[in-house]
């Protein structure tokens, strides 16, 4: 895991020394930005972080569902009559926006609600909040593996079930 550390916490003795040194100093470091009064500077980027995570989850979901059916990209593309290149891009290129026809075909094939699939693929500006929470939760727990172990399969099944429960 990216942030995994093996270190130990600072001791009380070290902290006492540090606090004494800190006294009444400030510690900020980084660039000075132009003064622009904004009421909510973080929100827009926060939305973008979420959107990228949702796209990532969509790529992982499409890949995992295909793998679970033991299909190659070419086989699935043949089954649903879309270009294999599009499926490759969906699975590999986070943020790629597939055409609506492809999304409909994928939704039908995987028996998922079309609206949920379109939302995950970035086809709408605003995402249903409960769906977004489920997707972000799935994204946080999933990775794009070649094969799924039993835990990943369980997680995938739970998420698919949750998607199917979304209102059409």
């Amino acid at each position: 895991m990216k942030f995994m550390k093996t270190g130990t916490p600072p001791t009380r003795e070290w902290l006492m020394k540090a606090v004494e040194l800190e006294a009444d100093c400030d510690i900020s470091a980084g660039p000075v930005l132009p003064v622009v009064e904004v009421s909510c500077p973080a929100s827009a980027a926060l939305v973008e972080v979420k959107r990228e995570k949702v796209h990532e989850a969509f790529s992982i979901l499409m890949r995992q569902l295909r793998l679970e059916q033991n299909l190659t990209v070419e086989e699935l593309a043949h089954q649903i009559e879309v270009e294999p290149e599009q499926l490759h891009r969906i699975e590999r290129h986070v943020g790629f926006k597939p055409p609506p026809r492809t999304l409909h075909r994928l939704a039908d094939w995987h028996r998922l609600p079309v609206k949920a699939v379109i939302q995950m693929a970035g086809g709408v500006k605003r995402m249903n909040r409960s769906l977004e929470e489920s997707v972000l939760c799935f994204a946080a727990k999933s990775e794009s593996f070649e094969r799924l172990n039993s835990d990943e399969k369980r997680l995938l099944n739970e998420f698919v079930q949750c998607l199917r429960e979304q209102e059409e």
Binding site: M1, K2, F3, M4, K5, G7, T8, P9, P10, T11, R12, E13, W14, L15, A18, V19, L21, E22, A23, D24, C25, D26, I27, S28, A29, G30, P31, V32, L33, P34, V35, V36, E37, V38, C40, P41, A42, S43, A44, A45, L46, E48, V49, E52, K53
Partner: protein
């Protein structure tokens, strides 16, 4: 769940140590705390600054009120190997945030050697000096800086770190920590650039 380390910070009003947590990675609720709790206070202090200066108080301008932490997290999300971020939380509140860049900066003290560059480090406004107000917690900044050095060590940079200090923090980096000073950097808004060498970092981390 984010990996974490237990830490302690000193509650100034109560004069006691309280338990906190150093989380590896900045979470959405940290960004929300920044936006909803830090930012209003930072902007209020920015507005109050001219009056307080006129009244003779020695205070530093609030210069980090417009750091967009969400955008910083976005770039980390896009290039996860190049950044490490962390947050200090006490009783569910965000008390300090830091992002360290690992890929592109080189040491000025040891030419061409990599270092961990502290791109942004900031503590909650109530933990900073301000006329008529006690700091809520002390120790948050030191914990973050220690983590920057540990990150440098983890990356094989032997504790070397670099940063551009905001004017209000010059005393801390120059006089208190005695980091190696390289003066005002005209390529970086004239901010003073500092480095911890390997030896200095080791001394800072020394538990004795």
């Amino acid at each position: 769940m984010r990996p974490s380390l237990p830490v302690e910070v000193f509650a100034v009003a109560e004069q006691k140590w309280v338990a906190g947590t150093l989380f590896f990675g900045i979470a959405e609720h940290n960004l929300e705390h920044y936006e909803q709790k830090w930012l209003p206070e930072l902007l209020k202090r920015r507005r109050e600054t001219p009056k307080l200066l006129k009244a003779g108080h020695e205070i530093a301008a609030v210069e980090d009120a417009h750091w967009d932490w969400a955008k910083k997290m976005l770039r980390e999300h896009r290039a996860p190997l190049g950044f490490r971020s962390c947050a200090v939380e006490v009783e569910g509140e965000t008390e300090g945030l830091m992002q360290v860049e690992l890929a592109t900066h080189r040491s000025r003290a040891n030419k061409n050697l990599n270092l961990a560059y502290v791109d942004y480090i900031s503590i909650a406004p109530w933990n900073r000096p301000w006329p008529g107000q006690l700091k809520r917690f002390k120790g948050v900044g030191s914990i973050l800086l220690r983590e920057a050095i540990r990150t440098s060590m983890d990356e094989g940079f032997r504790g070397r770190i670099g940063l551009h200090s905001l004017p209000g923090a010059l005393t801390w980096y120059r006089d208190t920590l005695r980091m190696k000073a390289f003066g005002a950097d005209q390529d970086y808004q004239g901010l003073h650039y500092f480095e911890f060498t390997e030896e200095q970092a080791e001394r800072f981390m020394d538990e004795k």
